[in-house]
């Protein structure tokens, strides 16, 4: 009976969070306070210079809420979790499967299938809705390439092939992603994916939304007792949340990218909300960041029917269900990992 609750995002620099009874209280730098009952929250995310009292951390841990710390610009630093949620048998099985080339390939195939099908669905949706405003031929071409990837994924692939198809799908999709931005002009042109740091406004938005998505998926993975670092498609690299990146693949296009597109296309973020540093790195201002956080939280509350479970759920709960399905697959209740196919 898990319910989607609100995530408390604290972006005001210099604020102090403490516990008062059953409430989280935020004291801002100017001394004003805001309070939120703990039972309406499923997590607290602190950006930058935000301080939490140890009693609040303990209380959140006891209630099963993770408190996470990110830099002001959204790079993940650390989380505080309660003692629950650790099943060593599940994690051992996860490592066994991740070590095994064949079962990694099977899982990676599912993950890439989710990514390819959902990227294609986003392009098709755009082509259908805005046929006159986009370069239909370019989009059609990209869809054709993704069709080819989908076809190849209908039969088993090796791990290297899965990785190759993932790369091809990503390049093809981002090759035409600029077409999906209907608000033309220099402010939101997109020529390709750049990161660390993002070099234009669109990449800046994409990077930030991916951070939010990665954070939520990481929390969901930890909540079901899996290790977010040991992935199947993504090779192990110390400090990299491989499994979180794996499960993110199916959500990027239809959830994160479409959110960025609608923020731009509906004018909810403007060119003035971004600044360019000497190096060319682009950052968004506080208001823009807030607009993204509000839109993200709203998008998570949207209702969808889970394609595999056929249950009506809120989008934010889909992260938990995918993590749960991954755990069920790893423990042997399912013969494969069913990705979230967006329709």
């Amino acid at each position: 009976m898990k319910k989607l609750l609100n995530t408390l995002y604290v972006t005001s620099q210099g604020s102090y969070l403490f516990k008062d009874g059953e409430c989280v209280v935020i004291r801002l730098e100017d001394g004003s306070k805001k309070r939120f009952p703990v039972h309406v929250l499923d997590g607290v995310v602190c950006f930058g210079n935000v301080i939490c009292s140890p009693f609040l951390l303990g209380h959140c841990a006891e209630k099963g809420l993770a408190v996470s710390f990110l830099t002001e610009r959204g790079r993940y630093l650390a989380s505080v979790h309660g003692p629950q949620g650790g099943n060593v048998l599940l994690r051992r099985e996860q490592y066994r499967k991740a070590d095994d080339e064949e079962s990694s390939a099977t899982t990676a195939r599912s993950i890439v299938a989710g990514k390819v099908a959902n990227s294609r669905a986003v392009l098709r949706r755009c082509l259908r809705d805005y046929a006159e405003r986009v370069d239909a031929q370019r989009l059609q071409g990209a869809i054709g390439v993704l069709d080819g990837c989908a076809h190849r994924l209908k039969t088993p692939v090796s791990l290297d092939e899965a990785r190759g198809l993932e790369g091809l799908a990503a390049n093809t999709y981002f090759g035409v992603f600029g077409e999906l931005i209907l608000k033309k002009g220099p402010g939101f042109s997109f020529t390709g994916r750049t990161r660390r740091p993002p070099l234009d406004n669109v990449n800046c938005l994409l990077s930030f939304v991916y951070t939010l998505l990665a954070h939520d998926i990481r929390s969901a993975i930890e909540a079901v007792g899996l290790d977010p670092q040991a992935g199947f498609l993504h090779r192990d690299r110390p400090g990299r949340p491989g499994l979180a990146l794996d499960i993110m693949e199916e959500f990027r296009s239809f959830l994160a990218d479409r959110l960025v597109l609608s923020l731009i296309n509906r004018g909810e973020v403007g060119e003035k909300g971004f600044t360019v540093k000497e190096s060319g790195a682009v950052f968004m201002d506080e208001d823009t960041r807030k607009a993204v956080l509000v839109a993200w939280q709203k998008r998570k509350a949207d209702e969808v029917v889970h394609p595999f479970l056929k249950e009506r759920i809120s989008m934010g709960l889909a992260f938990h269900l995918q993590a749960r399905l991954m755990a069920r697959y790893i423990r042997g209740d399912l013969e494969g990992y069913p990705p979230f196919f967006w329709k």
Binding site: A117, G225, G332, G336, P338
Partner: protein, 207 residues
């Protein structure tokens, strides 16, 4: 049982309700609270907060820790009424508090019987009966610890220990008991290996 870990009596109740539920909680370490578990938790908080003392002619003790080395079980008896036995000795009469109504299955009775068997081992006496107080309706149901129930506790207890030590969660058996299970969403009892992920994958790629 001596070479194995001791397990909580509540695990036995879970096992009697559904072996998969027991494994999900004690092997997979998952727990999700629902209305029923929350109500149960609050009820036990109230029972535990009550004071020991005399109710009428009966001495009452609350939240009494119990264990059995032989069964490899430990737990807490909600209430022990100390009653005078035939020989004039004091015999504990365990009373367990449950929020719901009397159940068709034996899981509540089995839990109470296991408590009694723990007490028997600790105190070296025989306990013939106890009671379960159900919140709906508010009344007591007497439980006789007969050979059939004791045998069931013994057998289930052994099976539960080997299940948990084996570390393999049994596949779901979807049934009526799933409706009130707090782990329904975690268990996903309708997902079985028959539900072909491969077919789902091909459909998703086809669209």
């Amino acid at each position: 049982m001596r070479d194995t870990e001791s397990l909580p009596i509540s695990a036995l109740q879970h096992y009697l309700y559904c072996p998969r539920q027991c494994a999900l909680i004690h092997v997979e370490m998952v727990w999700e609270e629902n209305l029923f578990t929350a109500e149960g938790r609050l009820l036990h908080k109230r029972v535990d907060a009550g004071e020991a003392g005399r109710r009428g002619s009966i001495d009452e003790e609350r939240s009494v820790p119990v264990r059995s080395e032989r069964l490899g079980l430990y737990g807490v008896a909600d209430v022990l009424e100390m009653r005078t036995g035939a020989s004039g000795s004091s015999i504990p009469y365990p009373v367990e508090y449950k929020r719901g109504s009397p159940k068709v299955g034996d899981w509540d009775r089995g839990q109470l019987c296991a408590q009694a068997m723990c007490l028997e081992e600790m105190l070296e006496l025989t306990i013939r009966e106890g009671a379960i107080f159900y919140g709906r309706p508010r009344r007591r149901e007497k439980v006789i610890f007969d050979d059939v129930l004791r045998e069931k506790v013994e057998v289930s207890c052994r099976a539960m220990h080997s299940l948990i030590e084996g570390g393999v969660t049994p596949p779901p058996e979807h049934g009526r008991h799933c409706k009130n299970c707090s782990l329904l969403r975690v268990c996903m009892p309708k997902l079985s290996k028959q539900r072909k992920v491969e077919k789902y994958l091909l459909q998703g790629l086809e669209q």
